[in-house]
């Protein structure tokens, strides 16, 4: 009975031409990445409200569903049902397409992320550069949204955001130069595999300044507190998305959180050994054979999720802790502090690799 069912499914599968089989498999893989990602986004908003609530000695949302667990679902439903208002004299086409321009790069970048040694949608040679290039396109959505809205506040917000993203992208790119010098590869999978052999091999130790610069630039790139002057509700209401309502607003929101998860994952991959276990290669082989503990200690996707979760927690923690930066100070930090720091550390790295101590940086 079951065999005949499998056979008929296989026959149905073989009926598709070859090229469409490849397309269908990739489509399935894309769905398998995007759906959990969107669920993560939904529950990240919930985690944010809860965590910041606890940090401020409040309870946070606790009314919808058991302990408030259905809150993000309710929020999504509410936003879906709301009317999308297009302001008078706004450029309709650009106004509607701006959220699409923001969410697309935020999702496309995930295609090159290696979740484990084999679990990667597109293992391309220059995946690090690819992600940097794709995420740099996200700024257009913000600029177009601000310009098309035909509103002063939105326009000011988008100008702030554009200047900020361009400034911090340079520091981010330089931090990545250090990583690719150490790994001698632009491929994210290779970068992780180069960090094998326990937590002391992770790049966070030799590249500590670059790690700090990259993570803080990541916070600035995603327009999160304390660098959220693009929204700056005390000065320009809500910045570039002040005119957006309903689902168009929700998509900006979604993209921001998807970008947060992306940055956290990238930091985990490039500086903390991605899916590698911290005791990888340090514990005897026999321990790995122990049923449950062994599987947990062994390298796997759970380590990547754990490290990503830690950095996401940091994102929320920052928001609850730091007051917003003043705009000129953001620019000063980006141009006058981070870029020199990364340049100096790249020079140190390059010089150290020529000495007998070069192995420390590989």
């Amino acid at each position: 009975m079951i065999e005949s069912l499998i056979e008929s499914v296989l026959a149905f599968w073989a009926w598709f031409p070859d090229w469409s089989q490849v397309g269908l498999i990739n489509l399935g893989l894309i769905v398998a990445i995007v759906v959990p990602l969107l669920l993560c986004v939904a529950y990240l908003t919930f985690a944010e409200r809860k965590l910041i609530g606890y940090m401020q000695v409040r309870i946070g949302p606790n009314r919808v569903g058991p302990r408030g667990w259905l809150q993000p679902i309710a929020d999504a439903l509410k936003l879906l049902l709301k009317e999308i208002i297009i302001p008078a004299n706004a450029n309709k086409f650009l106004f509607v397409i701006a959220p699409v321009l923001v969410i697309t790069p935020a999702l496309v970048a995930w295609s090159a992320i290696p979740f484990t040694d084999t679990l990667v949608l597109a293992n391309i040679d220059a995946s690090l550069l690819f992600i940097l290039a794709v995420t740099s396109m996200g700024v257009y959505g913000v600029i177009v949204a601000g310009w098309a809205s035909n509103s002063k506040y939105a326009f000011l917000g988008s100008l702030r955001s554009a200047a900020q993203i361009v400034a911090y992208e340079i520091a981010m790119g330089f931090a990545l130069v250090g990583v690719l010098m150490a790994a001698e590869s632009l491929n994210l999978r290779e970068i992780v595999l180069r960090q094998q052999g326990g937590f002391h091999q992770w790049y966070v130790l030799p590249l500590f300044p670059l790690f700090l610069v990259y993570f803080i630039s990541g916070v600035a790139e995603t327009n999160r507190a304390p660098f959220d002057v693009a929204e700056g509700e005390s000065e320009i209401v809500a910045g570039f998305h002040v005119e957006y309502s309903g689902m168009t607003f929700a998509i900006f929101f979604l993209a921001e959180y998807a970008n947060m998860i992306l940055i956290a994952t990238l930091v985990a991959i490039m500086f903390l050994g991605g899916w590698l276990s911290p005791v990888d290669g340090l514990i005897p082989e026999t321990w790995v054979a122990v049923p449950i503990v062994g599987a947990l200690l062994d390298s796997g996707i759970h380590w990547l999720l754990l490290k990503t979760g830690f950095f996401l927690f940091c994102f929320l923690w920052f928001r609850a802790t730091f007051p917003r930066y003043r705009y000129d100070q953001i620019m000063r930090l980006g141009w006058k502090v981070f870029i020199p720091v990364t340049l100096v550390w790249i020079a140190v790295l390059g010089a150290a690799m020529q000495t007998p101590f070069g192995y420390l940086f590989h």
């Binding site: 396109m137 600029i143 554009a162």
Partner: protein, 201 residues
């Protein structure tokens, strides 16, 4: 092969459309956005040519950084289209001559006589493991290291010159020094004065 051709023609059509929109559309912001689309599509075409490093760099540098700054400036300008079009007829003959000359020159150099299909053999395809980046690095940093360094040096000088030419210190700017702000003490700002209480007469 047919799939590759469909992809090529799709991108080629989009590229031509975007490029012609850049020069015909009235609104400068929209023109800049079409230029971004043109860069992006050109990058896609380069990927078809197996030049993925160059394609990604094109998106990263031109679409991701240069055009953002460009848009940034254009959006803040209040461009009066009527005034821009005032001298159109006046400049048309000179502009037309320059354009025609350019086209003739390009036709002479880039024509099929030098770049025809039979002149240049089709490059062999490479396996998926072939690293474009590594090959490019090898050529740039080993075969052409001196020209590359000289070009880099000239660019550096150009950057410094551009900054030096435009840098001007204004006397009236309210510049804040964060170091000073952080180091400020209470005694710098507040002066405690001891005064005897006034007695009612």
């Amino acid at each position: 092969m047919i799939f590759e051709q469909i992809v090529f023609y799709f991108f080629a059509v989009v590229l031509l459309f975007a490029a012609s929109m850049v020069i015909t559309i009235r609104n400068p912001v929209k023109a800049a956005l079409f230029l971004v689309l043109a860069f992006f599509t050109a990058a896609s075409l380069w990927i078809l040519l197996e030049a993925e490093f160059l394609a990604i760099t094109l998106v990263l540098v031109y679409a991701g950084a240069v055009m953002v700054l460009f848009l940034f400036v254009i959006m803040m300008l209040d461009i009066n289209l009527l005034r821009l079009r005032e001298g159109f007829g006046e400049y048309l003959p000179i502009g037309g001559i320059v354009a025609v000359l350019l086209v003739i020159e390009m036709a002479i150099i880039l024509g099929p006589r030098h770049f025809g299909l039979q002149k240049i053999a089709a490059p062999a395809g490479h396996p998926a493991s072939y690293s474009n980046t590594k090959e490019l690095g090898r050529v740039l940093y080993i075969d052409y290291v001196y020209p590359f360094e000289i070009a880099a040096f000239i660019l550096l000088i150009a950057i410094i010159a551009a900054i030096a030419l435009t840098l001007r210190r204004r006397k009236d700017t309210k510049y804040q020094d964060p170091r000073q702000q952080v180091r400020v003490q209470r005694s710098d700002r507040v002066r405690l004065v001891k005064m005897p209480a006034e007695k009612k007469p």
